[in-house]
């Protein structure tokens, strides 16, 4: 009986929050008068749209290569279902029966899901924990990232290592994008697709190198900057990018989607790539 009462009391305390017995009795979740709901709503809409589009494209398995452009969702293309010319690193997963994108997307997906900025964004917009600063959250209990499954957010740096490899591969794709399109002579060429891929990879590097884990690995973990001048310099550069990490997270998200849409439309013969030279 006593334990039931204790549990009941604990539940009531847990649910009280800003309306708890010792707090000022104001009675509303927030008194904010600004449009605090705009950021979580916009984030929810854009992330949902991106996830829906990326899932469709990744599962579909078609129209991801328009020579010399390879969609970032399918790079590297590692299965024997990859279209001719798109496998720059061989086809070691020839046994894979599903879309080739599903093998590799776990790495960028894991990197972004465990990213310190994206965590802020989706905890606020999808989980409303909290929806905005000084706006009461709807949950009765909260344990943060102390237990399964959210304790796995601590693996972020492992995804960062993978993200560096992915960024290198996407950079290689940009180099290949300076190659000839179908029917062009060999040598260096450039089209609108090349430019879009170049912009995309710049944003991806800015996002990857501005990662909080990268900043820590470069020099943040040190106690003595003075004894490690090169790492201090690297930390300083990573810190500069890190200050705009949220911006680069958004820019790179859009640039990935734009490059994929562009290559999708080229591969589906909706229009021809404007060639500069």
């Amino acid at each position: 009986m006593a334990s039931t009462e204790t549990r009941q009391a604990t539940r009531e305390t847990a649910q009280a929050g800003v309306n708890g017995p010792t707090r000022a009795r104001i009675g509303v979740k927030t008194l904010r008068t600004d449009r605090w709901w705009l950021y979580p709503l916009a984030t929810f809409a854009v992330f949902s749209a991106f996830v829906a589009y990326a899932t469709f494209r990744a599962v579909w398995g078609h129209d991801y290569f328009a020579e010399p452009y390879l969609s970032p969702f399918y790079s590297p293309c590692l299965t024997d279902s990859c279209v001719k010319g798109s496998s720059d690193f061989g086809q070691p997963f020839s046994w894979w029966g599903l879309s080739p994108a599903l093998i590799i997307l776990i790495f960028p997906l894991g990197f972004r899901m465990s990213c310190y900025y994206y965590r802020k964004a989706y905890y606020r917009s999808f989980w409303l924990s909290p929806p905005a600063c000084a706006v009461a959250e709807p949950h009765a209990r909260y344990t943060g990232e102390t237990r399964f499954p959210l304790i796995f957010q601590n693996v972020h740096r492992w995804f960062w290592y993978a993200a560096v490899v992915v960024s290198l591969i996407l950079t290689y794709d940009v180099v290949l994008a300076f190659g000839p399109a179908e029917g062009e002579s060999s040598g260096i060429h450039m089209g609108l697709g090349t430019l879009l891929m170049l912009i995309n990879v710049v944003f991806i590097w800015a996002y990857t190198l501005g990662c909080h884990s990268c900043r820590h690995i470069m020099g943040g973990r040190l106690r003595h900057f003075s004894k490690h001048p090169i790492r201090y310099k690297a930390w300083t550069l990573a810190s500069k990018l890190n200050a705009r990490h949220a911006n680069y997270a958004w820019y790179s998200l859009f640039s990935i989607a734009i490059v994929d849409v562009y290559i999708f439309l080229l591969a589906a013969n909706v229009f021809n790539d404007p060639r500069f030279f």
């Binding site: 604990t10 305390t13 847990a14 009280a16 929050g17 800003v18 708890g20 017995p21 010792t22 707090r23 000022a24 009795r25 104001i26 927030t30 008194l31 904010r32 008068t33 600004d34 310190y116 965590r119 802020k120 905890y123 606020r124 924990s129 909290p130 600063c133 000084a134 706006v135 009461a136 959250e137 949950h139 209990r141 909260y142 344990t143 943060g144 990232e145 102390t146 959210l150 304790i151 601590n154 693996v155 972020h156 740096r157 909080h212 884990s213 900043r215 820590h216 943040g220 973990r221 040190l222 106690r223 003595h224 900057f225 003075s226 004894k227 490690h228 201090y232 890190n242 200050a243």
Partner: protein, 258 residues
């Protein structure tokens, strides 16, 4: 040029209270604390407000203005439309004492739980030495005026009273980070930060940074680096293997876990 400002001020104590309407003449260039003082002087002599320096440096006049945690003395009336009603309430995370004054002793209890700076023995000439570049790193953290707006905004305790015993809060994660980055400190506080201080409860939604009147980047420069240091200790097999086979990071030598 003055105008009549409409205000709603929370009046009451733990037994109850309400928002009270006041209209008070104010002047351009004044801050919310000025308006409250005029209400106190002319209309509500018993209005309780904690304040001190009126310069944003003592951290006394923390409250919530139109629902946002801010310093009363650093919130200019010119930030609001003259026709707007300004609502002022006490901080909503701490027990209210009366009107706009809250009991912030939670923070002092948390401060006591944090082991203080533990420098090594002095050099032969009775001095301790740090390079300027290492001194500069911690300066941002020392700007903290202990207004506790970050503690007040953090939803971990704001929305969950039951988390208070297990969670130190952003102000003290700042202190953990400052000490852990200090070249002369001999304590390793990573286990303590993760365990007793509840660093893992933070889900880095950055509200502490948003409300900091000193502009300290609490989340990016203190909490996340501290989380990464915990990962170094516990969740990074590469570093664990490195330690086992003797590739120890010399930079943290001489530290003792507390």
């Amino acid at each position: 040029m003055g105008y009549d400002l409409k205000m709603r001020i929370w009046r009451g104590d733990q037994s109850g209270g309400d928002l009270e309407d006041h209209t008070v003449e104010v002047s351009e260039g004044e801050v919310v604390l000025d308006a409250l003082h005029r209400v106190q002087a002319t209309q509500a002599g018993d209005l309780a407000i904690r304040w001190n320096c009126k310069a944003g440096k003592c951290g006394s006049c923390s409250a919530e203005i139109n629902g946002k945690p801010r310093l009363l003395c650093m919130t200019r009336l010119s930030d609001f439309d003259t026709s707007e009603t300004i609502t002022v309430t006490p901080m909503r995370t701490f027990p209210v004492i009366r009107d706009l004054v809250t009991d912030v002793s939670f923070n002092y209890e948390k401060a006591k739980e944090l082991p203080s700076f533990a420098p090594p023995p002095r050099d032969a000439d009775n001095k301790r030495r740090m390079q300027q570049i290492d001194v500069e790193r911690g300066q941002e953290f020392r700007k903290c005026i202990e207004c506790f707006l970050c503690q007040n905004t953090c939803h971990v305790v704001r929305d969950h009273e039951e988390n208070k015993p297990a969670f130190a809060g952003p102000r003290f994660f700042l202190r953990y980070a400052e000490l852990d980055m200090h070249p002369l400190d001999t304590h390793d506080r990573r286990e303590l930060a993760q365990g007793a201080a509840g660093l893992g409860m933070c889900n880095i939604t950055k509200c502490c940074t948003e409300v900091c009147p000193e502009g300290i980047r609490i989340t990016d420069n203190a909490i996340i680096p501290m989380k990464e240091r915990v990962v170094d200790r516990k969740y990074d097999p590469l570093l664990t293997i490195g330690n086992l086979i003797g590739l120890r990071n010399k930079d943290t030598e001489g530290r003792r876990e507390v």
